[in-house]
């Protein structure tokens, strides 16, 4: 007999934990996350991973839609420049991210909500460290309420 899975409610005195959506590229960062898991490196359980073929696949829509849907933070990770499986996907993406990041800041969204990083398939440790860092940044900012609809 298996026990029914009961979702435990967070008790009142527990700290607020951010929910972060992470878009990881299939070839480097996803494998990096896998390596971190296999190597039993601890990193915060706040991220929910979406696997994408390449960081160049990540449209600005994904990021902004995540924010409007209520995610507290967005983390995007791809291969290091020059290591892209598709040669230049991450380089094109980097320009896009640069503009998006500056625009979000200009529009008054806290710049720390959206974070970008590079992590290769061999960098499980780096992946864990940076996820920890991103989680801390978002945690400091508090819940994402700016996109809440009020009616």
């Amino acid at each position: 007999m298996t026990e029914p899975i009961v979702e435990t409610k967070q008790s009142e005195n527990k700290e607020w934990e951010p929910k972060i959506i992470a878009f990881l590229c299939n070839w480097c960062s996803y494998a990096g996350a896998d390596l971190a898991g296999v190597s039993r490196i601890q990193y915060p359980p706040n991220i929910r991973i979406v696997r994408v073929p390449c960081s160049g696949r990540i449209n600005a829509y994904f990021i902004i839609k995540s924010l409007t849907d209520g995610w507290d933070g967005v983390l995007i990770s791809g291969c290091h420049p020059g290591d892209c499986h598709y040669i230049s996907g991450n380089l094109v993406a980097r320009r896009r991210f640069a503009i998006l990041k500056e625009l979000l800041e200009f529009f008054g969204i806290e710049p720390g909500r959206v974070n970008f990083m590079w992590a290769s398939a061999a960098e499980g440790e780096r992946f864990a460290v940076l996820v920890r860092k991103a989680t801390e940044i978002v945690k400091k900012l508090g819940p994402n309420t700016k996109f809440e609809k009020k009616w």
Binding site: A60, Y61, I64, K65, T68, P81, G82, S88, L91, V92, R94, R95, R96, F97, A98, I99, L100, K101, E102, L103, L104, E105, F106, F107, G108, I109, E110, P111, N115, F116, M117, W118, R126, V129, L130, K133, A134, K146, F147, E148, K149, K150, W151
Partner: protein, 339 residues
């Protein structure tokens, strides 16, 4: 020399050039401006015979970016037998820039287009004048010296042109189409190239220095009146997608309501799509029925692109736009790094 005579001069020259082009069959049609149905407006007009040339006008109310009519081509620019017609475009600086930028995106072929260069003194910010006049009806608008004179029933008011000019025009460095010196006979007035473009973007530095909370409050206050009529999209020469992301319903990316988050996201993504493509014609804010100042956002984009990629849109058709290009050593100071 006042604005009035300057404009008249340009207008007569323009009509002569247009007549010559149509006579020599160098172009099949010419797109330009004609007198609008309301005093403070001008309208685009398409001319295909010599007789109609006199309808062309030039004044400081000609704010529509005519490049809009070329991508996609309006039906009158395409002949069922001859295919794409040769089009002459009456171009102030920003129309010329838009055409050149569209050519760099392979949307138009510059060989099929004849740019008739006009030295633009800037356009009037119609909304501000209407706001000052209030509910009274404007019946006549004329220019004399440096003033714009607005007349109506029982009132007459003068506005200083330099003050009521569109904000983007005030700092405009490219008054004529950039490549016009290659075709001096198609240029009204002198054909000097634009001089060195130096821009310190001091106008947006003040806003950038605010805290996120203050920026958010200011931006949302500005955008909260948006009714999402998409006039800004329709007026923009760079908005030529077959299916705009806001009209897309499979998947529905973003809400279609006028609630603040949806409006905010529309303007954010619109800005994102304009990066490295905006030619600073100001058409989007001049057509806005709610008077939203989109120029601030466009100026910010101009700044980002200039500082990061050293690019100014619409100057050279052979240079790739920054968002389809990349360099190995692009700045990446915004990336997370281990301490």
């Amino acid at each position: 020399m006042g604005l009035e005579t300057e404009n008249k001069d340009i207008e007569t020259n323009l009509i002569e050039i247009a007549r010559g082009l149509l006579k020599d069959k160098k172009v099949d049609v010419i797109i330009g401006y004609k007198k609008g149905t309301l005093p403070l407006l001008s309208q685009p007009i398409i001319i295909d015979s010599e007789e109609e040339v006199d309808k062309l006008i030039w004044n400081n109310l000609c704010y529509v970016n005519l490049a809009k009519y070329l991508v996609p081509r309006v039906p009158r620019f395409v002949d069922s037998e001859k295919g794409n017609l040769k089009v002459g475009v009456v171009s102030k600086g920003c129309v010329g820039r838009a055409l050149i930028h569209l050519a760099s995106e392979n949307k138009i072929n510059l060989d099929e287009i004849t740019i008739i260069g006009i030295p633009c003194n800037g356009v009037v910010n119609r909304q501000r004048i209407e706001m000052e006049i209030g509910e009274k009806e404007i019946l006549e608008v004329s220019v004399s010296g440096d003033n714009i004179i607005v007349k109506g029933k029982n009132f007459e008011k003068e506005f200083l042109f330099d003050e009521y000019m569109n904000d983007l025009c005030k700092g405009c460095k490219i008054r004529k189409p950039p490549l016009i010196s290659k075709a001096p006979d198609l240029c009204v007035g002198e054909c000097e190239e634009y001089s060195n473009i130096v821009d310190d973007f001091s106008d947006i530095a003040e806003f950038e220095a605010l805290t996120p909370e203050e920026k958010w409050n200011q931006i949302t206050e500005e955008l909260s009146v948006c009714t999402r009529c998409y006039a800004c999209r329709e007026a923009c020469p760079m908005c030529y997608c077959n299916l705009c992301f806001v009209d897309q319903n499979k998947p529905v990316w973003f809400g279609k309501t006028t609630d603040l988050p949806d409006v905010f996201v529309y303007h954010l993504i619109r800005a994102m799509h304009m990066a490295g493509r905006c030619v600073a014609c100001g058409a989007c804010s001049l057509v806005c029925p709610m008077g939203i100042d989109l120029n601030k956002i466009n100026r910010k984009l101009e700044k980002i692109v200039k500082e990061r990629f050293d690019f100014i849109s619409g100057l050279d058709p052979d240079v790739l736009p920054p968002m389809v290009d990349f360099k190995m050593d692009d700045a990446q100071e915004f990336m997370l790094e281990e301490d």
